[in-house]
Point group: C2
Chain length 281, copies 2
């Protein structure tokens, strides 16, 4: 791992519907990492964010995070206001709630708020996001595409994401909404991106920019297209069903990891003695 | 291909909800193969088969099959009656409608009717089945398991199938019901079986027992576990989420094929000049 990567903080990428009432495995991990620092919860993804913040505030305070503040952004102009930038002063973490990924990137892209998020991450802070807040983490994100059906050529919409993690495309609510087809479609377009499909109440914790560790009750699907020998993505007519041969697929559950640099899965032993991973199975 | 395999007929394995009104691609292929012979439609899979037969009869007659008869079996004892056995005399094809796969196997297993179906197939006839009628084709079949979620250890139910095709486990309504998780669970149990997940209005045509060809509007997922390097299927507690590394996955659409013996996908060129496959894309 390079020095540059070592300097980075932690991403917690959540597939939506994380448990807020029982074991709270994932939010507990966010709280543990934020410790006694400030956690900024931003509801920018949501058109109707009423109540979102309050629920997260209660949950995180129960988990020991005392300083939980809300960053609400209804209009892009607000992402330049000092009062809002001040909320990030000395923050140790930021949490993106669910909603619409295009709202996050269109409101925050190339604004002072975005620079502060990047700075927080580069300086070792925690950036967490659920559902839409998960999809935005990568360089290129999925915006829309059909669930519960196989991929048809031309159906998928992608857009630039926040660029906090490189070399991946992330999808969420993965098994629950039958999204294997659309993530395969995304990987088929350019196999240099690894597809990461995250189930509900399941998260990928990313350390050093390329070491992934799974947390939560569901699975994480890693779609590696490097091995692909043939696909019709560029040849077939629009609306044709995707055909793709020789995909390498890993299904990871709590305790498993993945090394993005080497594109290899890792079990709990290889990941080292992580206390959370250890009591996973 | 051995002489034994050459003698076999054709299986048409349909993922459910095949088109009966517009292009009718799949049923047209069944009709083409049955030609001017008799087609037996059996509604044995259904607890309430009323109307099923009539719809198929109309559709197949429109497609040029003149001799379409119904084989209804409400009780297992009926599978020994001469009047029912006579229906199969000289038949060139049998079509299993949807319903419950356990109804098919529990009513027909080790009966004279089943022997006649086997004989029909061995002598070059067509055995087609949709939905439950698709699942029963293999040696071991999926009976139940959760849809739209990742596989949890211990959740899957399997049972002996009709054994017309070897070395596979078949699932249907595949992308539509988000069944990747459960088919991965089935393959994890014993990777000597290749998982075949068939979308709705999509079929696999099997010739010579091991050459698969895809027909219809959706995709066929081939899950090959031969490459798997690690899985928790035997180690983890019941209800834990499945973890499995290095699955080889192919997504096939109309015109594609798969050689079960070599476990290799084939494109239209490799499959040869099949008229149906050729106008597929």
């Amino acid at each position: 791992m390079s020095k540059h990567q070592r300097k980075k903080g932690t991403l917690i990428v959540i597939g939506g519907h994380e448990d807020k009432t029982d074991g709270k495995t994932i939010l507990k991990e966010v709280a543990r990492m934020v410790g006694d620092g400030r956690l900024v919860v931003t509801t920018v993804a949501s058109h109707q964010p009423e109540g979102y913040f309050e629920e997260y505030q209660r949950t995180f305070q129960d988990l020991g995070v005392k300083d939980v503040v809300e960053l609400a952004i209804a209009e892009r102009a607000e992402a330049r206001q000092e009062s809002r930038l001040d909320l990030l002063d000395g923050a140790r973490g930021i949490f993106f709630t669910g909603g619409d990924q295009l709202r996050i990137t269109s409101q925050l892209g190339d604004t002072p708020i975005y620079s502060r998020v990047q700075q927080l991450y580069e300086e070792g802070g925690v950036v967490a996001g659920t559902s839409a807040g998960a999809s935005v983490m990568s360089d290129v994100m999925l915006v829309s595409g059909e669930s519960d059906e196989s991929h048809r050529i031309g159906e998928l919409q992608m857009a630039p994401g926040l660029g906090l993690i490189h070399g991946v495309v992330i999808d969420q609510h993965f098994a629950e909404r039958g999204r294997m087809g659309r993530l395969l479609g995304a990987v088929a377009k350019n196999p240099r991106y690894v597809g990461i499909g995250i189930d509900e109440n399941t998260a990928v914790v990313v350390e050093g920019g390329e070491l992934l560790r799974v947390l939560g009750s569901g699975a994480v699907y890693v779609i590696d297209g490097a091995t692909v020998t043939s696909s019709n993505i560029a040849d077939a007519k629009q609306d044709c069903t995707l055909s793709i041969y020789d995909v390498r697929l890993h299904v990871l559950s709590q305790g498993d990891g993945f090394d993005l640099g080497r594109r290899e899965p890792m079990d709990a032993d290889q990941l080292g003695k992580d206390p959370v991973a250890q009591d996973g199975r």
